[in-house]
Each structure stands twice: as structure tokens, then as C-alpha cells.
């Protein structure tokens, strides 16, 4: 769907409210350094800094935590140790981000192990939205499964093909 120039000129219905913010002075973000309107929150005293009950990583670039903070995954286990290591580097270093990416993957495995330990068998297909996939994208899903199966079978055949001669040699 791409309009040619003639079709573009033929759009006859102007958009509702067209040009109502044409004057930059009517735009909330102009000038960019304008302070936002103060609301009722100014009636309350300043927020007392939150106290941490768990370990919170602070970027080496930041001097302190913001007044309010939180995390759904406090650092723990191997992934926590990896995050400890990552936070030794500034955000300008790949060592920081790549270690955090790796720690995130490790944390996924730790979550599965933790689930199994507590007797909960994680339903990963459900968590990945298999219900919606089967309801609205069945054909593509079946094609994907067939593709993966074909790749695995081909890989197994290739592996067997190259393995057999070596076995005959021994």
C-alpha cells in the first residue's frame, strides 16, 4: 500500500484538528527547557529517600540512587555475581552491557531451576503465548515446526553420514 503522487493529492478529508498546534507556543514541549506545570504534589513534603532492603546496583556514572527505586529481580546466584562484575564498568563499556546480557540469560535458567526446585513445572509454551499463536497463526506455526523438524532430521543424517566411516576405521 503506497500512494502515488496523484492519489496523495486526492486525499480530500483533512485530518480532524489539522493545524491546531501549528503555533509552536501552543505546544507543551516548547521551549524545551520550560518547567512543567506544578501540580498538587508540591503540597506534600519532599520525598524521603527510600531505604534499600536488598542489594541495588548503581552505575559507576551515577553518584547516588534516585529517591524511589525498585527491581523485580534483586541480584542473586551466579547471575547476581555476573551483574556485580558488570557494574564495575561504566555504561560506555561493552564489558558492562554484554555481561548484563549474559547475566540475564543465566537468570532465565536460574528461574527455571528455582521453579523446578519448588515443585512448579514451568509451562514455557504457555508463557510464550502458544495459545494466541495456535488461535491466530496456526498455519505459520505448523510451517515453523515442520521447518525445525526438517532441519533436525537433516542435521542428524549429516552427522550419521560423517560418523559412520570413522566407526568403520576403528
Amino acid at each position: 500500500m503506497a500512494y502515488n503522487d496523484q492519489q496523495a493529492r486526492n486525499i480530500l478529508t483533512p485530518a480532524q484538528g489539522w493545524g491546531s498546534d501549528a503555533d509552536p507556543r501552543s505546544r507543551p514541549g516548547v521551549p524545551r527547557d520550560k518547567r512543567p506545570e506544578l501540580g498538587p504534589e508540591t503540597l506534600y513534603p519532599n520525598i524521603q529517600p527510600q531505604l534499600s532492603t536488598y542489594k541495588v546496583h548503581i552505575s559507576t556514572e551515577h553518584g547516588k540512587l534516585p529517591p524511589v527505586f525498585g527491581t523485580s529481580a534483586p541480584p542473586s546466584g551466579l547471575s547476581g555475581m555476573m551483574r556485580d562484575f558488570a557494574y564495575k564498568f561504566s555504561e560506555g563499556r561493552f564489558a558492562h552491557w554484554l555481561t548484563l546480557l549474559a547475566a540475564d540469560r543465566v537468570n532465565v535458567l536460574e528461574g527455571i531451576i528455582s521453579d523446578l526446585r519448588s515443585g512448579h513445572i514451568p509451562n514455557i509454551p504457555k508463557e510464550m503465548g502458544i495459545g494466541a499463536e495456535l488461535k491466530y497463526n496456526k498455519k505459520a506455526f505448523l510451517l515453523k515446526v515442520a521447518g525445525i523438524a526438517a532441519t533436525l532430521i537433516a542435521a542428524q543424517r549429516i552427522y550419521s553420514h560423517f560418523k559412520e566411516p570413522r566407526e568403520r576405521l576403528t
Partner: protein, 213 residues
């Protein structure tokens, strides 16, 4: 962020909820021509109806950059808004290195197109979400074309009063983009529906059990 002036030509990359509202905002700011780009016709049809912007399906074009050059007398649009982010389709190499192999912070295809499409001295506004490492973009073209790049997340508190004015005046109807209402317990399915763009979804809302009848 795009400093849109009356009569400007604006191209919005991405016809998700953010891109749709960016296109609508461009209209409210008096853009002379607004185009919105996506790879899904259902989204483009919705965006055209909701914003009045011209729909452009990049899958139907050999080279989107050439399309925007040709349709603007070979100058390029005044403003390009990147509202796609890391999951962009449209380039095998960007998908492979950014989405599959994680060698860069997502596929920067739309940002690449935006930089190459916009006119010399034009403005790129980035609202799409990227990862924290780095991306392959033609930064040399940014210098050679004298572009301005602005990027930010929504300053919600600052913009909400103005948004209410537009709703009251009948310029915008945000509820129209809410195509799916899904129980909170089915959040995995809701996420998959949205991320895979199934069932003509534009934006889902999750309904907690406490407010269901």
C-alpha cells in the same frame, strides 16, 4: 522534537500505537503532507483512517529511501520520525545481526532509512526503543547532510493537559486504538498477539479481575 512547521512533509516510520499518534501529532502541528510507513496493511489502513496520513507499505517498494526522494522532488521529507525501534523488519542484514545474533542493539533499519531519506538540514526524531549497546547507522550521512537528531521518551506529565484539550475538541479519540481487551491472566497471549502483530491488533489493554463484571 521534530520541530514540525506548517506545510512540512513528515514521514513517520512505524504504524504501531506510537507511530499512529506521531502521525496524528504531525497533522495537528500543520504538516502539509504526512506519510506513515509499515509492513502490515491492516495497520496502515487503520493509521490512514485515524490520522489522514498517506500509507506506505515498505514491502511493496524496492527501495523505500528512493520512494521518499522521488515523491518529494528528490529533496527528501523535512522531518522523519522513527517510531519502530529495535524490532524493525525490512533488512535481512539488520535482522540477522540485531535481532537474531544480538551483535547490535536491535535492527536499526527504520533509523537507517530515516537518516537516508530526510532532506539535507532536516530533522530526525527518534522515539523508537533500542537496546543499550550500539547500532549500525550511517553516521557519516548525518554529518554530510547537516541533520539534527533529537530523541526522547514521552514527557507524559507535560503533554497530558494538551492531550485532554484535543480529546475534548474532538481532534483525537485515543480509545479507538484499543483493539483488544484481554484478561490480565492471559498476559502471555496478549504479549504474543502484540509482538507478533496477530489478529489485526493495534493496542491491547489488560483488564484485572477486580474490574471485570
Amino acid at each position: 522534537m521534530g520541530e514540525i512547521k506548517k506545510g512540512d512533509t513528515v514521514v513517520v516510520f512505524g504504524a504501531g500505537p506510537v507511530g499512529i499518534f506521531a502521525a496524528k501529532s504531525a497533522q495537528l502541528m500543520g504538516a502539509g503532507r504526512v506519510m506513515i510507513v509499515d509492513g502490515y496493511d491492516y495497520r496502515l489502513e487503520f493509521a490512514q483512517k485515524f490520522t489522514g496520513a498517506e500509507p506506505v507499505n515498505f514491502r511493496e517498494l524496492d527501495d523505500p529511501v528512493m520512494f521518499f526522494k522521488k515523491t518529494t522532488d528528490h529533496l527528501g521529507p523535512d522531518v522523519c520520525i522513527e517510531a519502530v525501534g529495535a524490532e524493525a523488519d525490512g533488512s535481512f542484514l539488520q535482522r540477522l545481526t540485531g535481532v537474531k545474533m544480538k551483535l547490535q542493539a536491535g535492527a536499526a533499519t527504520a533509523l537507517y532509512w530515516a537518516i537516508d531519506s530526510v532532506r539535507k538540514g532536516g530533522v530526525i526524531s527518534i522515539v523508537g526503543v533500542f537496546g543499550p549497546t550500539s547500532n549500525m547507522v550511517p553516521i557519516g550521512n548525518v554529518v554530510n547532510k547537516g541533520l539534527t537528531i533529537r530523541a526522547n521518551q514521552a514527557s507524559v506529565r507535560r503533554n497530558v493537559p494538551k492531550l485532554f484539550e484535543h480529546i475534548e475538541a474532538g481532534h483525537v479519540s485515543p480509545k479507538d486504538v484499543l483493539t483488544h481487551r484481554i484478561p490480565l491472566e492471559e498476559i502471555s497471549d496478549a504479549y504474543h498477539l502484540f509482538s507478533s502483530k496477530l489478529d489485526n491488533i493495534i493496542k491491547p489493554v489488560l483488564i484485572p479481575p477486580s474490574v471485570r463484571h
